[in-house]
């Protein structure tokens, strides 16, 4: 029933006479409104300046204003410090000295932090540190969203307290059962950790510490032990070398822990008159081979025979060996080595103890000063025999507990199935891991450990060198470092920091500040007696049987041993030789490819496709391995990179390539392959591999000509006819030159002799400038975003006119001959970034003046102004401009670090993240030079030479890049710009670049 309630407003309503109520109902106001008074006054109204129109305007305006004001922009909260930490000033970077050692790479580094976040890794130059691409990229691995974010027990989350409780009660039971406890780690060069393990033994009982390197140097370690009685690696100082013979050793890459580039470059400075002569004998085209003065291709088995042959030629012995294609050359080499005296050195990467002994014996016979067998290195300690024994014991049920740390055997062992199978017989398995990787998946406990940028640590990578790792950020996740956990388990309440400090004798604060300390030590008197019969060693080597096709595994400068596979910077870093990213593949010589009927085809969109094969080595088959045809690959050999084919703990995008570790211990000589008929897509960023006859792009001269000929003979300057006179091309100009003689004027010099192509600068540029990662699909479309690239050119072999006639080659063949690489080409690298032309072609064509020239020589990009016509990129003769084809940040299509709340933390706040549709390019790190200028201004001083830096030159280990102010006539770069080796890329175009190249000098034998 509808309610019929009535509410009375007042008692008046009860009355019959309701005039008041009527009034109230009719009128809003009881009293008459004096409108007449207000509007009747015509005079006042007419004199009023507010007309009806104005009134409406005001109403309209205030409505619009109120509406607009209520539209609020998105609010982003920045939370200020309540109590500001003393050392943090927002906007200012702090640097901390630290050390990276992940079992594979070692580097003394400086960590740049901004507002408490590490954002970049630089080399600690005071510690003579150097960084490679992986070290540079390691900062991004800190912000990896796929990291293990807390401890897990059988896949379930568990608290650290429970972990401690469970394990501390379980461990004594294991010991009580009479089974062994094994600690399996990667190379551990930390003195404190080693001491801690000993204390652990004191508390619980014997522990078997097995050291395992994914990329093993076991042969070299065993050989050194046999020769010198100590299981370590010798150190090499290539700056002292006069003649280097490397047999398969990629010492500019990861050979025996790397870090040899700086010394190598030091020994090759043409202006000092001394330049080492470097000969490489190898099967794969390695970075080192690419830098060599002379390169011979040899199959892996032939390398062994060549080594013995070299030993014979040097010592005059006559150890029986097999013939190789280079026997004559070996004799010449031996002469050359002997003539070089103590400056001669032979290094090899043959994974055979006897071969390594042979190499050490050669160096000893030569009396080489380059090799240091006293101050040995601890950078690799893995022992393959121990690992094999461990698996056997695990299978036999002798192992009660297995603790792994900093190792991923399920991924890296060639017999990982056996390991996984044997693991089932282990009662307690504990993995200390940063990711839920292949191994952690199979262990009972997966205990999350922090990244090295969140941890304390110490490293004794070489005798007498003590380095410290210090945390630069609070752990992002629920992690606890391995050492802290061990301390906990032995009932020690100290932190590992206290523990380290207590172990250290010396000035602790200074050492933490510096990141390293040299510790005086006296080598122990050696009582070792050598019992090596070199003839027996040679005889053992002579039993090696060559295969028809042989496999040589290698590591890429990008991926290394594969532990950073989830790092998009490294995945997208092109291989310096093949220029392919996001992949591993079989490298094969053109001759073999023809024989197997395998091809590489460039598609119409510029993407490279290759045939897939099923590869069988020693009975183990990997299906669908792509083949990349590699000039310079030894005929009869194939190469395959380790570190790819990860399956656990990485994003789907990063699961690229195949796992070549399954072949690590297999016989390399038993190789067969079968074409599958399917096609694989490579992500190769360079399609043309030779200079196509344009030799003035990358100028090269032999050391002899450099020393003896006039510079214009080998550093040709283009000349134009101008006013009926021949004048240098760069003097002819349409434009009026701006006076750049006052203020700063930046130049960057790049020495093509010193550049090894290691690509550390490429990653450094990524990190400094927030360069986006675009993924394999886009790289295949030639849309990489690299601001800095390293062009790699192969030499071509074009027959002379007469030879062509004899072979019946037509003009067209001659023409296209220039486009094809020789079978064993010489290689040259050329880093190319924006050349910052003083007369920049890009600047004149931009309709909106979004790119223009700075007073200090930089060609600048105003991203906000750019409308994206791409005209500038078309008109750039160096092709260094990169267009944002899509939005590369916060876009699910590009699920890399910029689409990730953790990954975004690595972004440099000084550099803007570019939006879709704008052009970007190298800025010559203007944010860095401006900071330097401001700082000097505040301090009221002049800027010293060397203070101005860019990310690339800072990352350069070999000193190939020199940056500075050419208006400072005393500066190094000012002198280099005038050097007789200096030239501008494409000088005849008249762009007047601010990047100067130095002609490459090769120590070619006449």
């Amino acid at each position: 029933m509808a309610s019929n309630k009535k509410y009375w407003i007042s008692t008046e309503e009860l009355k019959k006479d309701t005039s008041l109520i009527d009034n109230l109902n009719q009128k809003e106001f009881m009293e008459e409104i004096p409108t007449d008074e207000f509007l009747g006054d015509k005079e006042a109204l007419e004199s009023s300046e507010t007309s009806r129109r104005d009134f409406l305007k005001f109403v309209g305006f205030s409505t619009a204003a109120a509406t607009l004001a209520s539209c609020e922009g998105p609010v982003r909260k920045a939370i200020p410090y309540v109590v500001k930490p003393e050392e943090i000033t927002p906007g200012q970077a702090n640097y901390y000295a630290s050390t990276m050692f992940d079992g594979f790479d070692f580097a003394n580094i400086l960590v740049k932090t901004r507002e408490g976040r590490p954002i970049k890794i630089e080399a600690n130059k005071e510690a003579d540190g150097s960084t490679n691409a992986r070290v540079q990229a390691s900062v991004l691995s800190l912000y990896d969203s796929f990291r293990l974010k807390g401890p897990k027990y059988k896949g379930e989350k568990i608290s650290w307290e429970d972990v401690d409780k469970n394990i501390m009660s379980a461990l004594p039971k294991v010991y009580a059962s009479g089974k062994e406890v094994v600690l399996l780690t990667g190379t551990c060069a930390s003195p404190s950790t080693q001491k801690l393990v000993k204390q652990f033994e004191e508390k619980y009982g014997k522990i078997r510490h097995v050291v395992y390197d994914a990329v093993s140097e076991s042969a070299a370690l065993d050989a050194f032990e046999a020769m010198y009685g100590e299981r370590a690696l010798p150190d090499y100082d290539f700056s002292k070398a006069k003649t280097i013979v490397a047999i398969g050793a990629d010492f500019l890459g990861d050979w025996q822990g790397g870090n040899f580039s700086a010394g190598y470059a030091n020994g090759r400075k043409p202006e000092s008159g001394k330049m080492s002569y470097h000969v490489q004998l190898e099967s794969n085209m390695s970075l080192t081979g690419a830098n060599s003065d002379k390169r011979f291709t040899l199959k892996p088995s032939e390398q062994v025979f060549a080594l013995v042959g070299l030993y014979n030629a040097i010592t005059g012995n006559n150890i029986p060996t097999q013939a190789t294609p280079v026997d004559e050359a070996i004799k010449e080499l031996a002469k050359k080595l002997k003539a070089s005296g103590s400056g001669a050195v032979v290094v090899t990467d043959i994974q055979n103890k006897n071969a390594q002994i042979m190499a050490l014996a050669i160096n000893e016979a030569l009396g080489s000063d380059v090799v240091d067998v006293v101050n040995t290195k601890n950078i690799r300690k893995g022992n393959d025999a121990d690992v094999a024994a461990l698996i056997k014991d695990m299978k036999a049920g002798k192992i009660g507990a297995l603790i792994t740390h900093n190792t991923n055997p399920v991924y890296t062992l060639s017999n990982s199935n056996a390991f996984v199978e044997a693991l089932k017989n282990v009662d307690l398995s504990i993995a200390f891991a940063m990711h839920e990787d292949e191994t952690a998946k199979h262990m009972q406990y997966a205990l999350s450990v922090p990244h090295y940028l969140e941890s304390w640590g110490d490293v004794m990578h070489k005798k007498g060198y003590y380095s410290i790792t210090q945390p630069t950020i609070k752990p992002l996740f629920y992690t606890r470092q391995f050492q802290d956990t061990l301390l906990k388990w032995i009932g020690n309440e100290d932190s590992f920091y206290d523990y380290m400090k207590a172990n250290f004798s010396g000035d602790w604060d200074q050492t933490v500040h510096d990141g390293f300390a040299k510790i005086a030590y006296t080598p122990e008197e050696s009582t070792f007696e050598r019992t090596i019969d070199i003839n027996a060693v040679g005889a053992a080597l002579n039993t090696i049987k060559p295969g028809k096709l042989e496999l040589a595994l290698y590591t890429k400068i990008s991926m290394g041993d594969g532990q950073m596979a989830n790092n998009p910077w490294l995945q997208e870093l092109p291989d310096p030789i093949s220029r392919a990213s996001w992949d591993n593949y079989i490298t094969m010589s053109p001759a073999d490819a023809r024989e197997f009927g395998l091809t590489n085809v460039t598609r119409d969109d510029g993407a490279l496709d290759g045939d897939l094969v099923d590869l069988t080595v020693d009975g183990v088959t990997i299906e669908n391995v792509p083949v990349l045809i590699q000039p310079g690959q030894a005929v009869g050999s194939i190469g395959l990179a380790l570190g790819y084919g990860r399956s656990e703990g990485v994003k789907d995008e990063m699961k690229q390539g195949v796992n070549a570790y399954v072949y690590a211990t297999k016989s390399y000589a038993d190789v067969s392959l079968r074409k599958t008929g399917s096609i694989h897509g490579f992500a190769c960023i360079q399609l043309q591999h030779t200079l196509a006859g344009r030799h003035d792009i990358l100028r090269e001269v032999s050391l002899e000509d450099y020393n003896n000929e006039a510079p214009h003979e080998w550093n040709h300057q283009h000349k134009f006819s101008y006013d009926h006179q021949e004048v240098p091309a760069e003097k002819v100009d349409l434009w009026e030159s701006v006076d750049r003689s006052n203020g700063h004027h930046f130049n960057l010099s790049i020495d093509l002799t010193a550049c090894t192509g290691c690509a550390a600068c490429v990653v450094a540029c990524h990190a400094e400038n927030n360069v986006p990662v675009v993924g394999k699909r886009e790289i295949r479309k030639s849309r990489d975003m690299h601001w800095l690239r390293i062009d790699r050119y192969y030499s071509s072999e074009v027959p002379t006119r007469e030879a062509a006639k004899e072979e019946g080659l037509g003009k067209g063949d001659m023409y296209h001959g220039l486009e094809k690489a020789a079978d064993n080409p010489q290689v040259a690298f050329q880093p190319v970034m924006c050349q910052h032309c003083n007369h920049a072609p890009c600047e004149t064509v931009c309709p909106v003046a979004a790119t223009s020239h700075g007073k200090q020589g930089q060609n600048q990009m105003a991203y906000n102004r750019c409308v994206g016509t791409r005209y500038c990129a078309n008109n750039c003769p160096y092709r260094v401009r990169r267009f944002n084809w899509f939005r590369y940040n916060e876009n699910e299509e590009f699920d890399y670090n910029m689409n990730d709340d953790y990954g975004k933390m690595v972004l440099n706040p000084d550099v803007v993240v570019r939006s879709r549709g704008v052009m970007e390019k190298c800025s010559m790190c203007i944010q860095m030079t401006q900071a330097t200028i401001l700082e000097a201004k505040k301090e009221g001083r002049k800027i010293k030479d060397g203070e101005f830096q860019t990310a690339c030159m800072n990352a350069c280990t070999t000193g190939a890049m020199v940056f500075g102010d050419v208006n400072d006539k005393e500066s190094k770069v000012a002198q280099l710009a005038e050097d007789k080796r200096a030239y501008h890329l494409l000088d005849f175009v008249g762009t007047k670049p601010n990047v100067v190249y130095q002609v490459k000098v090769r120590n070619e034998e006449a």
Binding site: T602, R603, D604, D605, G606, Q686, L687, Q688, T690, A692, G693, R694, I697, E778, K781, S782, R783, D784, D791, R792, Y793, G812, Y815, H816, Q830, V832, P841, T844, V845, C846, P847, V848, A849, R865, C866, V867, G868, T869, R870, Y871, A873, N874, N875, P877, Y878, R879, R881, F883, N884, W885, F886, R887, S915, R916, G917, V918, M919, L986, V989, T991
Partner: protein, 464 residues
């Protein structure tokens, strides 16, 4: 009767036509209903247009990455299509302005449609510089308008900015010229219109044309002035378009002969397109008596001449590139490298369609054949598209540094946008053919008694 004309000169209007016949013939498509063929053609064109709109929307929403471009090839189909459409837009003004100044009376039958084609083609052309921008929403940065961005101003050094002015000037002058010519014809339609709505519309379109002698006098004066204004534009627009390339530094682009070579090419392609369109239109709208063999032949002769200039330019480019001896010239679009490289098909298409096929026009039989003219005009349209594609894509694919050589493949979006502009063009043209007087009847009437076949015959027989 107007002045005497030689009996050897072929008549420009065939059949026995009176002034009224002309009015009826021209007004017929407007006053009758569209036939089935028109609807089929319109539907196809509309679908293509809609597809194009879809492709453009997708591009703007997602990014230029939906096209096939890459770091080395920053332009390909976009600017190819732009230059192609601008080139097509050249015949109209040439026919109506230059031929008016030269008092070529044969232009009268074709200038209306040629100019319509020009304007519609310039619409298509103008689209590409807009949508090829990475940030089209900031496109107004290219206009020199007072702004609050500080001291920012457009860069007058940039040929792209010159394009902005050249194209917009050309479009506005062409439009005004075209409309002026249309006034008496619209008035004729208006006067014939029966339905009030139609009458209203055409009286609006005719700007109140009355047909007084003063009207005609002013009409003639304005036409002459506009023709004088438009004539330099014929040369300037494509000169400036060519400077997009000529002022750059890429081998193959950086060439001083580009301006005249591009202008000749534009007229070449424009006439070919007129030929194509009229070939269809004269059949469909039964205007065979107005668009005669003589018209076709005259246009073919212009094609032959401009085609010759273009071929000479190609050979010059080829020769000079080779003669420099510079290895950087080995791979330009006119080089051995291009002829034997990955884009050999594009190179040889250009040679075949633009140099070899037009040579058949030397034969009078071919030149005066409707069907062969049509076929050859299609070939030239294709050839001229390839010319621009070759200049842009081949040159960019092999720049100075071999490390940065690349390849280009169009995506469905590239193709979709091109087809969309073709659709848009034909949508406009088909609508035009049904609503506009497609022949300048007022002008044609002025020559009826002078060069009309019937009147000529009358005159000739009377002389005998």
């Amino acid at each position: 009767m107007s002045h005497y004309e030689s009996p050897y000169r072929e008549p420009l209007i065939l059949g026995k036509k009176s002034y009224h016949d002309i009015s009826v013939d021209i007004a017929r498509p407007i006053e009758t209903r569209a036939n089935k063929n028109w609807w089929i053609a319109f539907t196809i064109a509309l679908l293509a247009f809609l597809w194009g709109i879809g492709a453009i929307t997708y591009t703007i929403a997602t990014g230029i990455g939906t096209w096939g471009l890459n770091k080395n090839i920053g332009w390909a189909w976009d600017i190819t299509n732009f230059v192609w459409w601008v080139g097509i837009g050249h015949a109209g003004t040439l026919i109506s302005a230059v031929l008016l100044l030269f008092r070529q009376e044969w232009r009268m039958a074709i200038n209306r449609s040629a100019e319509a084609m020009t304007i519609f083609a310039v619409f298509q052309a103008g689209l590409f510089p807009l949508i090829h921008m990475g940030r089209i929403w900031d496109g107004y940065f290219t206009l020199p308008i007072p702004n609050q961005f500080g001291s920012l101003w457009v860069n007058f050094n940039s040929p792209l900015l010159w394009d902005v002015f050249a194209i917009s000037t050309y479009l506005s002058v062409s439009l005004v010229f075209w409309w002026t010519g249309l006034l008496p014809d619209f008035a004729m339609i208006r006067d014939r219109a029966i339905r009030p709505f139609q009458k209203k519309i055409y009286s609006l379109l005719s700007f109140g044309w009355t047909g007084r002698a003063k009207d005609w006098q002013r009409f003639e004066e304005v036409s002459l002035v506009l023709a004088g204004l438009a004539t330099p534009l014929v040369l300037s627009v494509h000169t400036i378009v060519s400077m997009d390339f000529a002022t750059s530094i890429n081998p193959g682009w950086h060439s001083t002969i580009f301006p005249p070579y591009f202008v000749a090419g534009a007229i070449f392609s424009g006439f070919a397109m007129v030929q194509t369109l009229l070939g269809i239109m004269r059949k469909v709208t039964h205007l065979e008596n107005y668009i005669t063999r003589k018209h076709i032949e005259n246009m073919n002769m212009v094609i032959l001449l401009t085609g010759g200039i273009v071929a000479t330019a190609y050979l010059t480019e080829f020769f000079i590139g080779w003669y420099t001896g510079s290895p950087y010239e080995n791979y330009t679009y006119m080089s051995v490298g291009a002829a034997t490289g990955p884009y050999w098909w594009a190179f040889w298409s250009l040679i075949l369609f633009n140099i070899i096929i037009p040579q058949f026009l030397w034969f009078k039989k071919v030149r005066t054949s409707f069907i062969w003219s049509f076929v050859i005009s299609i070939a030239i349209n294709i050839g001229m598209w390839f010319e621009r594609f070759d200049i842009i894509a081949i040159v960019l694919s092999k720049g100075h540094l071999p490390s940065s050589w690349g390849r280009f493949e169009p995506t469905f979006v590239d193709i979709g946008i091109f087809i969309g502009t073709l659709g848009f063009f034909f949508v406009l043209f088909l609508l035009y053919a049904r609503t506009f007087p497609v022949i300048a009847q007022a002008e044609v009437k002025t020559i009826l008694k002078k060069t009309g076949q019937y009147h000529k015959n009358l005159r000739d027989t009377s002389h005998e």
